[in-house]
């Protein structure tokens, strides 16, 4: 079971990371800082995951870590997919008069979700770092 969580969670994470980086081509000005912060966190986590992948006492074998990795990546994928298939709905964006009349220009997931996704990935990142120290 843990192995299944590990593989599904990490595959989803790679898909989400690729989607997130590809959002950089069409992001709103006001969400640039948030989306950049979110992308940097994901990039660091991705690098850590790649380093950990081949280790025997890897954090990737921790059951709790794999559960949050799977759940978080599932909800992030849902958010990305909803945003992709409905460009009229900039997910989580704030009510902004300037952007209300140009829905086509605000296809990227924007404000609030970027904050929530960042919080979740920061949590995973800290969990990853702290747990790794304990294993050593």
């Amino acid at each position: 079971m843990n192995k299944t969580f590990k593989y599904i969670g990490n595959i989803l994470f790679v898909i989400n990371a690729i989607t997130l980086f590809s959002f950089f081509t069409h992001i709103l000005d006001f969400s640039f800082i948030k989306i950049t912060t979110c992308s940097i966190i994901v990039l660091v986590l991705l690098i850590l995951e790649i380093i950990e992948f081949k280790k025997k006492d890897s954090i990737l074998n921790d059951r709790k870590y794999n559960i949050i990795m799977l759940l978080v990546n599932m909800i992030v994928l849902v958010i990305f997919l909803r945003d992709r298939f409905d460009p009229l709905m900039p997910l989580g964006s704030i009510i902004d008069i300037a952007s209300e009349y140009s829905p086509s220009s605000s296809g990227a997931f924007a404000d609030y979700n970027a904050i929530f996704i960042s919080i979740m990935y920061v949590g995973i990142l800290i969990y990853n770092i702290l747990k790794k120290d304990r294993i050593k």
Partner: protein, 214 residues
């Protein structure tokens, strides 16, 4: 200590996940709500009949030969009417046929194709009042009518936009406007009202310009 910290982090991540999950499920359920509207109903048939009448009136205006209007004014009038007719025909309401399910998304895209503005009517009336001073009586009514309908339409449109958005942070207090029959009818009658007004103006132009007396 580290174990407690790890559990706190685990809990926070799960809480955020749970919140996003609930918000997404509620939002999907909310956007799946719909209402039926018959696009072959009388109000829609009236709109189509009025558009035909407007087209014929615009044609009559373009055929005006012996008129009191100067060439420049006549061109302005023709341009205004042609512009209005294009805006009317671009309205997505006219594309629907038969009984249809209408979702909030449809209302949203209906509003996006709504380019109707009666501000042009006010400027047209001002122009006509140069030729017939009695039109000044309508001018004030039209101006206030324009302001009133502009603000009402704005409120209507804003409500749908705000409802359609997925406002994660304040999701549970967000405005929940559904695609009800009344909301669709308000858009139908808005278009209807606009077409009727354009028709009335076109007839006024023909009357002032002399076509009715020919």
């Amino acid at each position: 200590m580290k174990k407690i910290l790890l559990n706190i982090i685990f809990g926070i991540v799960l809480c955020v996940f749970g919140y996003l999950l609930i918000a997404n499920i509620l939002h999907i359920m909310y956007l799946s709500k719909y209402d039926y509207f018959d696009f072959d109903s009388k109000p829609m048939a009236d709109i189509k009949a009025n558009i035909k009448e407007l087209e014929s009136n615009i044609e009559k205006i373009s055929e005006l030969n012996n008129t009191v209007f100067t060439e420049e004014d006549l061109k302005t009038i023709e341009d205004n009417f042609n512009n209005s007719l294009t805006n009317i025909k671009e309205n997505k309401l006219l594309d629907y046929k038969g009984k249809q399910k209408i979702y909030l998304k449809d209302l949203f895209s209906l509003d996006q194709t709504n380019n109707l503005s009666i501000s042009e009517n006010v400027s047209m009336l001002k122009l006509l009042s140069n030729y017939d001073s009695t039109i000044n009586n309508y001018l004030k009514v039209y101006t206030y009518d324009f302001i009133n309908s502009a603000y009402n339409s704005e409120a209507n449109i804003q409500e749908v936009i705000r409802s359609y958005r997925y406002n994660t942070l304040d999701y549970f207090n967000a405005i929940m406007g559904e695609a009800t029959n009344t909301r669709i009818l308000s858009r139908v009658y808005n278009l209807s009202y606009y077409v009727v007004k354009e028709n009335y103006l076109a007839e006024l132009v023909l009357e002032t310009g002399g076509a009715s007396n020919e």
